[in-house]
Symmetry: C2
Subunit: 492 residues, 2 copies
């Protein structure tokens, strides 16, 4: 048969996906319902599963199947499918097992101690564990680079954002860095809530479910639960999102829900015929983030949606209708204010946090700077981009994120690339859909139908570049992101 | 090293247990939180896991390891451990793969169609699917029997209740059958609730949690959730029980919770040093059931506990304090009434349902009767034991249970054996612990400490016979069960 090897590959990756399914559900359980006493045995079971998955990913017969599949008579989808399987296989097999193990151990130790060291602002203690993580990550980057003719950092970036490179990022982020500090100054506005309120969690949950339904979340194939750190997990047939509620405030929980709903709708609408194959998965981290940020930033922070949110809030929290009138929620949701912490940053200052991290991790992985240089560079770049000093404040400076502690270098750019892609999707969509009017009439179907057709159904069938060109007519255009920010935040 | 093969066996069975952990959590999720649209992909993932577990259980190198371990210098615990591993291995490897597959397919088909056929009282439709299940189960029983010098039925019984045989069951159940019908007549009492009430589920959950805590459930290592069919699942480090609430009534949900708490306390208190090995698991189905029935029947249906329940009910449902006074709850919880359905039966009539099923499945598997004979035998035995006819009523007669549909012959005796073991544990415990007084003072610790020492901590280190003798001084003694029933139900 002409597609025999291809079929064997399909079976193998479907089998992998079945085990990934078990991992996804047990991870979700770990973050939501597992009693704390279950942690040790769960960790053991998950470690066993990880070993098994690694065996499947590096099964010796795959090399030959990929060779044989090359000569088979495959259609376009099958070719794209083999390409993504092969990419997965390369990512998994290129590193020597000892390096994977050494990095995993160093990363676990660094992350574990970081949880205490960060609280204690203990940079020097952290540095001792961090330097081996960087050294092993550099080794990883060099091995990945040598098999792919990229720079070391680009080889790491490629894990999360295939097709992206630092030449393009330097250009994109360099552009942003020329106008962002001025824009932040123009847009900056204080916002301080001057009231106390009590929003019952049960009511917040009802509102969250209503918003999810409005945004197209399919409850027959997913759930909303609570966890300390909100996430989107589960599988594409059973997508589990979480949020975190506070009683004094409901807007943050709702924005979290809306953000994760964007991730979830992407997952839920991936093509079911390819569901268990690498080609049937989301295109990249940045495209994934573009969907959550489309929902959160392009839709939910628009004046029309904020008016809708205000109306629904008055229904669920009638006592605080006056506090939650549209103009107050706009003041809260469209505030701009330079601050130390990335995860709390607003839409305008967020890219500054990402650019700073990108420049440092790029130079670190390429060996152009050393770990010990980071605090000084952090302080310098924070001052340049946001006008804030982090001198001697490691806790709220270079020690604030978990990403680097286990060597996940190359991930940070996804956040701001996602914001840029989202702005570009919105820009194109607005040519054929009256988005404000759809929001006002509470019919978001044309909006998520567009995303479904242009992005969700495409899965990994196209490269990010081709996906963008087919959806928007052009590759990533940073000027659209700039216009979006100007339009929303620089009205005066 | 003198224990090298033993250590390899330990590693192998620990690895199996890690995958069983994933299965337990994903099964729990399937019954509690999974959205219905997730069912298909979950079924695929679970099937993949079952295949993988079967591979591990039948790994070719195990035979040699068991041979080598025989000559190793093992202590008593290690010897018991090898024995249980070997038992697990034999159960898994003795059947040819084609038979396992054929039975699984026939069973799935029979069970699937039974769900409709039962509703439609369609015995003849059911019989078509059931006959192949019986034929394959007979084949299974013969293969199991031939490797162990048992009768075919005893070989099936041995899966669930190692050490038990039909000679002993004939004697035990034969004894019961001589006095039970008369006792049922003596004890029979109508109970019909003559009020309407509304018990909010949130309050029932609070009461359930309080009762679980009282009974020694460790919430750091477990949870209570809801599902259509109550069960005890999860792992011994993370034990998940479920119940089902109705708003018009709270007693059944609480009895379900107490029953599953009995199962859960056994699981939670298995020796952690052996947690992942066959020898560290619960001894048998009947011993497991003895723990849930100890809690439900010996403790929770005692007058002292019912008084306690009445008091707590008046706290959580003050509106219905009069309805739930002790004497009313006793009338409900100690009612005796012959009825058609096993799962709704009371403590006195329940053994009749089990004896009937035992006699039929024994003769069926041994080839002494045929499937088509079942309805007539059912009607006959129901008349003899309970004085009720099931003529032409297959739905509430021989088609009421799920057990036979997939060929789980040999399981039914566990229920009544469990009730007998429970009565015997209580009888012994009462010699050193004033159980009524402990319940009155709401301190059940001495009770579950006794169970912990005598049963839970023993796991599968002893045979059921040795466990009984060590705990109670004698093997199973049916007269204790009889006395218990007489004492509680034949006071007049
Ligand atoms: Zn996100
Ligand atoms: Zn039970």
């Amino acid at each position: 048969m002409a597609t025999q090897s291809y079929k064997k590959l399909v079976e193998h990756y479907q089998s992998i996906d079945n085990f990934e399914h078990l991992r996804a559900i047990c991870s979700w359980d770990q973050a939501t319902f597992m009693p704390s006493g279950g942690a040790d045995s769960r960790a053991e079971a998950m470690a066993e599963l990880a070993v098994h998955l690694h065996k499947l990913h590096t099964a010796p017969h795959l090399a030959e199947l990929f060779e044989l599949a090359k000569d088979e008579n495959l259609d376009t989808t099958q070719q794209a499918s083999v390409k993504e399987m092969h990419r997965t296989w390369q990512l998994q097999t290129v590193l020597p097992a000892e390096l994977v193990k050494a990095k995993s151990l160093a990363g676990a130790k660094c992350e574990h101690q970081w949880r205490i060291q960060r609280q204690e602002n203990d940079w020097h203690g952290f540095l001792k564990n961090f330097e081996p993580v960087v050294a092993l990550s550099q080794e990883e980057a060099q091995i990945r680079a040598s098999s792919s003719r990229m720079t070391p950092y680009d080889a790491m970036l490629d894990i999360y954002e295939p097709g992206m490179c630092s030449t393009q990022l330097n250009q994109l982020f360099g552009d942003v860095a020329t106008w962002l500090p001025q824009m932040i100054q123009t847009a900056a506005q204080d916002y301080s809530p001057n009231h106390t309120a009590q929003y019952p969690v049960e009511q917040q949950e009802l509102l969250a479910h209503e918003l999810m339904a409005l945004l197209g979340f399919n409850f027959n194939h997913g759930r909303l639960d609570t966890s300390v750190h909100p996430f989107c997990g589960g599988t594409s047939q059973d997508t589990r999102i979480t949020t975190r509620y506070g009683e004094s405030e409901f807007v943050n929980a709702m924005m979290g829900v809306i953000h994760e709903t964007g991730h979830a709708c992407y997952e839920q609408n991936l093509p079911q015929s390819l569901a268990k194959l690498p080609v049937g998965k989301a295109r990249s981290m940045a495209i994934h983030e573009s969907q959550s940020l489309f929902y959160e930033m392009q839709i939910a922070r628009s004046p029309e949606f904020i008016a809708l949110l205000s109306d629904r809030a008055s229904h669920y929290f009638p006592k605080y209708a006056a506090i939650n009138k549209t103009q107050n929620l706009i003041a809260q949701l469209q505030r701009v204010e330079p601050s130390l912490i990335r995860v709390d940053a607003d839409e305008v200052t967020y890219p500054a946090h990402v650019i700073l991290r990108y420049e440092i991790e790029r130079d670190l992985i390429n060996g152009d700077i050393q770990s010990k240089d980071i605090p000084q560079l952090w302080d310098l770049k924070m001052s340049q981009l946001l006008g804030i000093s982090t001198k001697d404040n490691y806790k709220d400076g270079c020690m604030q994120d978990i990403h680097w502690t286990d060597g996940s270098f190359g991930y940070f750019p996804s956040y701001t690339l996602g914001a840029m892609y989202a702005a570009q999707f919105k820009h194109t969509m607005a040519k054929t859909i009256n988005i404000p009017q759809q929001i006002n009439s509470r019919d978001l179907k044309p909006i998520y139908d567009w995303l479904n057709t242009q992005i969700w159904q495409k899965a990994s069938l196209l490269s990010t570049q081709d996906l963008m060109v087919q959806a928007t007519g052009t590759g990533l255009d940073v000027s659209i992101f700039k216009s979006h920010l100007q339009h929303r935040y620089c009205k005066a």
